[in-house]
Amino acid sequence: MKNKQKPEIMAPVGSFAALQAAIASGADSVFFGVKQLNMRARSSYNFELDEIQVVADRCHKAKVRSYITLNTLLYEHDMALMKKIITTAKEAGIDEIIVQDMAAIQFAKEIGMPIQASTQLSISNYESVKFYSQFANTIVLAREVDLDMMKVICDRIREEDLRGSSGKPLKIEVFVHGALCIAQSGRCQMSLLTSNTSAQRGACLQECRKKYMIKDEETGNEMSVRGGYVMSPKDLCCLPFLDKIVETGVSVIKIEGRGRSPEYVKTVIKVYREAVDAIHENAFTPAKVNTWLKELEKVYNRGFCSGYYLGKLLPDWSLCSGNKSTEERVYVGRVSHYFPKAQVAELSTDALEIKTGDKLVIMGDNTGVVRTDVTSIKLDDKFVDSSGKQNLVTIPLEKRVRKNDKIYLLRKRQNV
């Protein structure tokens, strides 16, 4: 028997290149931030007001839903900008706005802009879901609920035919992949206390990821606990039990990571796309899970854990400062030209030479992410094994790339 409904896969988008990568990899929807009113105001590219229409148009063309995240706490002086962003989003045909502040919820309702109740609201029970359904079409559950709670909420929505503000059946959304907060998701004040940089204003300094020592003030002796990484959780990865998540009846599964590279978006979305399709076809097997996990390990990760979803005791510590990806990208240079008829790309190897047999990843705003193996290199019309540095060389490349796209060498991480 086939599982009846496929959940929507929502991709994080922190650049035009990531947007292209998300669309090309099979995302059903994307979310992105505009200007400073979002939880990644500090750490990712945020789109300008006049770029909202561009993103919306690209998504409409690809039949992908688009959401703007406007989920910081709002101060008095933010009202005009908040209204401007929501109004512009509505005019551009953005599908929903992800919000936490009541001022934004209220304004969106006034102008008839559908919203998603952000995970920042820590919604963890059906009554809460019911309350926010007056305003929202989609409810993002707290990351701290477990699978049983998720299922109870989804079941009751169906039993009571709970509808969202637009009159359609209410959708439940959960995070399935990406960073976890050491505090209750979205409620951490550590960055604000130590450095006046409020996570609630999108400026989290990731204090939990740093190394700390315990010091005996009397003697001055210092102790290192867990290598100093005393509160850095591993990343959430629901892939091994994604079938269980889908069985709860959630409508949307969301990938975290607007600060991540387009290549990360491509890899993670592709894996989850394949996994969701496999679940639908009753072909979700442990062997496939293993293959997919190896793919996920290639891109940025702090090690994987199941978060709070399986009721397992946390913490599950990362024990490192950050990235544990098995592959790394090294900057090579830029594309200087592409010859579509000949299917040849001309590359400028400004920073690093390339050799035949190398794996390259090329990224750009309109290109998204293109991976290729270097099968041959031509320099001054002669075949060479190595490009040398600061040369103009050509390589055969079927997929179209564009002038000024960035080229990276993909290699095994050298200092794990």
Partner: protein, 76 residues
């Protein structure tokens, strides 16, 4: 030479710290939700203005408190 302040306003997230710590130099722009260096002029995307030496200490605190590190003081 008067102390000079350079503000990379584009990256301001509107935390209001500078306005709180040095209200004689900063005000909140409620249209854009970003702080504004009073009396400054824009030069290639940066806002530059002079302050009186008496306001230097308050502005040093504001620069230190800025979560985005976009307030730079020169000639101090």
């Amino acid at each position: 030479m008067k102390p000079k302040i350079v503000h990379k306003r584009k990256d301001c997230i509107g935390c209001n710290s500078c306005v709180l710590l040095a209200p004689q130099t900063w005000q909140m722009d409620t249209k854009e939700g970003k702080s504004r260096l009073i009396g400054s002029k824009e030069k290639r995307g940066l806002f530059v203005g002079e302050i009186f030496p008496i306001d230097l200490e308050a502005n040093k605190k504001a620069a230190k408190a800025c979560p985005m590190h976009i307030i730079k003081i020169e000639n101090a």
